[in-house]
Symmetry: C2
Subunit: 122 residues, 2 copies
DNA sequence: CTGCATCCCAGCCGATACTG
DNA sequence: CAGTATCGGCTGGGATGCAG
């Protein structure tokens, strides 16, 4: 019922691939995961997603907003306050992206071991 | 039980982030999805993942092999034949990555509409 | 505080040519 | 067929400075 057989990410020219390129991205995964519990202002997002630069966070949020995954709320205050929140569409992506982060955390030891073995054989 | 609270991808220096960086990638998502149904040789993978260049496919497979997600099987034949297959660890990642591709296909119309709206307002 | 503008570097990625 | 090597363009991404 929710199938769209006419779209296929494995086809180079399919527009869905441009969407995949945005969501299959480490910064997107971390930002969307961080927004899963509710609204966050820019500076809190910056500290939650440790190590992200201001430029990259801005760019990532702007693209997510463009794709309709994140909404932006500006408050007319001094100093300025801007909060970001997942849209309903963005929420449907939260679990899948969170799953990637969870996978990385849960299997990191196996991955590190595999890397050691691989590098030793070279 | 399978929890590893000591690892957190949101921490910049956590090694799990290096793993996330590899799996949260459009080429990884497509290659792992393509390998979900079983072994594929290099050339078949190249045509299945439409538009991928030989260099990028080689690089992606090499990194996936290094992280223990993909195994490589070489046949002593002429012409050469090399097949790639998901490891048990790689299989645990298949569903999560497939979910991203499915999401992109199922929601592309909403995303395209959002982009139009966003771009029109600029 | 937010975020734009700029500069600049590193890495991704594609195209091509060449080997076993 | 399955690579490797090389080159070059493009983009991601960090640092800094400035404006609202």
């Amino acid at each position: 019922m929710t199938e769209h057989p006419e779209f296929n990410v494995l086809t180079a020219t399919c527009p869905s691939r441009t969407s995949l390129a945005r969501i299959a991205n480490k910064w997107t995964a971390m930002v969307v995961s961080a927004l899963g519990d509710g609204r966050l202002r820019f500076s809190d997002l910056r500290t939650t997603v440790d190590g992200i630069s201001g430029k990259v966070l801005t760019d990532t949020l702007r693209e997510l907003e463009r794709d309709g995954l994140v909404s932006r709320h500006v408050f007319a205050e001094v100093p300025p306050r801007v909060e970001y929140e997942l849209t309903p569409l963005g929420h449907t992506l939260h679990a899948p992206l969170r799953a990637l982060g969870d996978w990385a955390e849960q299997h990191i030891e196996e991955v590190l071991t595999a890397r050691e073995t691989f590098d030793k054989r070279r």
